[in-house]
Symmetry: C2
Subunit: 309 residues, 2 copies
C-alpha cells in the first residue's frame, strides 16, 4: 500500500458530567486526508484545502503527531500528507484532534499496523499539545477508538472504550462566534466544592452505567454538569434558551462541546433528533446568530479508510 485516503471525524469532548474525561465520535462531520509514502524520510505537508494552516511540520498538529510517531519507529522512507479540512477550526468539535489522529492512523495503516489504536492515542496527543498548550486525549481517543471513550488517566495514558447504544444520536449546533479555548479555560475555577464534585462523580458514574444497560432515562438524569457548564455557558450566547429548546424537544441531555462555542444534544432515535435540530434552529434563528447544525449517529468505528492503493 502506497497511498491511503481516510475520513477523520469530528468529536465531542467534556460531555457534561464527564469534563476532561468523556468524549464521543461523530459521523458525517469530518476531514479527509490523503497520506502517501515518499522516498525522503520524515513528514511533509503537501496540500491543505479548506483552511489556512501552517505547512511547517512543527507548527501543524498533523505534522507534530506524525513526527512523534516516526520518532518511535524510525524509517528509511517518509510520508506526505494532504489535508482536506472540513471541520471548522475553533468550533469546539475537535478540529485539531481529527488532523492529529488522521495523520497517525494513516501512517500506521501504510506501515501494516505496527501500532494499536491505543498506542496511536499517545502520538496524536502530541499534536493536541501543539493546538492547546498541553497534550490531552479526550478528543483523539474517541476519534481513534470510536464511540464513547473515557480517559481514566493521562499519566500513564489509560483510555477505556465504552459501549454505545445504537439508537443514540447527537445534534451539534455551532453558533458562528469566536471563542478562544484560552478564554474558556481561564474562566474555570481552580477549586470546586467537595459537595459539587461528589454530585458530578455520582452523575458520571451513573451515565457510564446507563451506557452499559442502555437506560436512556438514567442517561438523561445524569447528563448534568454543575461544575464547568455554569461558568462556560456564560460565554455562549443564549445558552439557557437553547438548552430549554433542546430538552423540551426531547433531548436526553444538552451541554457544551469541548470548550465551545458548539453545543451538543443527545437523543434517543432519529425522530427526537430531527425535532431537536428543528427546535434549536428556530431558537437561534430568533436571535439572529449565524449557525450550522449537524445531525450525527455516534460513530462507533471512529476514523475510517475511504480508499487505498
Amino acid at each position: 500500500m502506497e497511498e491511503i485516503k481516510i475520513f477523520a471525524p469530528a468529536s465531542v469532548a467534556n460531555v457534561s458530567c464527564g469534563f476532561d474525561v468523556l468524549g464521543f465520535c461523530l459521523d458525517p462531520v469530518g476531514d479527509e486526508m490523503i497520506i502517501r509514502k515518499i522516498e525522503t524520510p520524515g513528514v511533509k505537508i503537501s496540500k491543505i484545502v479548506g483552511q489556512k494552516l501552517p505547512f511547517e511540520i512543527k507548527k501543524n498538529v498533523a505534522g507534530v503527531a506524525a513526527e512523534a510517531m516516526l520518532a518511535a519507529c524510525p524509517l528509511k522512507f517518509g510520508f506526505e500528507i494532504e489535508i482536506h479540512k472540513k471541520i471548522k477550526a475553533g468550533s469546539g468539535i475537535g478540529s485539531s484532534a481529527a488532523s492529529a489522529a488522521g495523520a497517525v492512523f494513516g501512517i500506521n495503516q501504510l506501515l501494516g499496523k505496527p501500532f494499536s489504536a491505543h498506542d496511536l492515542i499517545q502520538f496524536a496527543m502530541e499534536g493536541e499539545g501543539l493546538a492547546s498548550g498541553s497534550p490531552h486525549a479526550d478528543n483523539v481517543a474517541p476519534v481513534l477508538l470510536g464511540g464513547f471513550t473515557l480517559v481514566r488517566s493521562m499519566n500513564p495514558v489509560d483510555v477505556i472504550k465504552l459501549p454505545c447504544p445504537s439508537e443514540l444520536k447527537a445534534i451539534i449546533l455551532h453558533p458562528k462566534i469566536e471563542l478562544k479555548t484560552m478564554h474558556a479555560r481561564e474562566i474555570l475555577k481552580k477549586n470546586v466544592s467537595l459537595k459539587k464534585a461528589v454530585t458530578q462523580w455520582g452523575n458520571l458514574a451513573a451515565f457510564i452505567s446507563a451506557l452499559y444497560t442502555e437506560d436512556f432515562d438514567l442517561m438523561s438524569r445524569s447528563l448534568v454538569d454543575e461544575i464547568v457548564e455554569p461558568m462556560r455557558s456564560l460565554l455562549i450566547p443564549e445558552f439557557e434558551k437553547l438548552k430549554t429548546a433542546a430538552v423540551e424537544a426531547g433531548a436526553l441531555g444538552f451541554g457544551i462541546s469541548g470548550s465551545g462555542p458548539s453545543v451538543y444534544a443527545l437523543a434517543n432515535g432519529i425522530q427526537d433528533t430531527n425535532a431537536i435540530a428543528d427546535s434549536l434552529s428556530s431558537s437561534i434563528n430568533q436571535v439572529g446568530i449565524d449557525f450550522e447544525i449537524h445531525i450525527s449517529a455516534i460513530n462507533n468505528q471512529g476514523i475510517k479508510v475511504i480508499s487505498c492503493k
Copy 2:
C-alpha cells in the same frame, strides 16, 4: 405471616474513588433481627442483645426508620422488634444501616411487600439521619439492594444497582480504636482542586466500567482516592503500612470503609483473599493493636429472610 427473622448485613461505603456514592454489601458479618406483628399500632423495641442501645423509638435507628415507613402506610396494628446486634457500633461497616434497613425490610415482608427495595431506602435513610446527623443512603442502599450500589442523587433519591463479578471478595480489618464519625467528617476540606476532582471522577467512571466488563486489572488501577483518603487515613494507625501489606499480597484495592476505622481490601478469588487477610493480620499484630478481620463474598442479594412463621 406473623413473625420474621432476618439477617441484616454489614456494608462498606465510601469505596475509594466512590466517596459518598459507592457502597457494597458484606455477607457473613451482620445482625439478626426478629420482627413480629402486635395488636397495638406503632413500633416497639422489645429486646436488644449484644449492645447497649436505646429502647426509646425516637432514639433508636431501627425505630426511627420503622416509624418513617409506618407514617407512609398507617395501620391498625403494630410491630415489635428484637435486635441481636453483632456488628460493632462505630466500626465503620454500617452498623446503624443494618438496623435501619432491617427494620423496614422486615416490616415490608410482614405486610406482603407493598414497597419495593428502592422505596425502602428512603425510610431506612431516616434511621441513618438519627445516627449521623443527616440522612444518607450509601450504606442502606447496598444492604437493601445487595452487591455494589451507586447513589447518583440524594434529592431526589436515585440509586442504581451495579453488577458484581462473583470472584470478587472483600477483606475487612477492624482495628479496635475509637474514631468518631464527627471527627472523620471535620477533617474533610470543603473545597478540592478541580484537577483532583477530575482524577477522582475518571477513576470512579473506570471502576463502574470494570464492574460491567469484569476487568479486574482496571478495577485495581481505578481504586484510588486522592481526595478523602489522604486526610482520613491520618486518623487510622499504620494505614500506609497496612495498605502496602494488602497490595503486596495481591489486593486489587485498599481503602477506608465508611469513615473508618475499619479498612477494606478487594480481591480476585479466595486464594488472594486469604493471603491478604494473613498479611494484614501479621502487619497489625506487629504494632500491637487489637483487631478483628472478616473475609466476605460481596453479598449480591443483600438483606435475607432467615425464617418466618
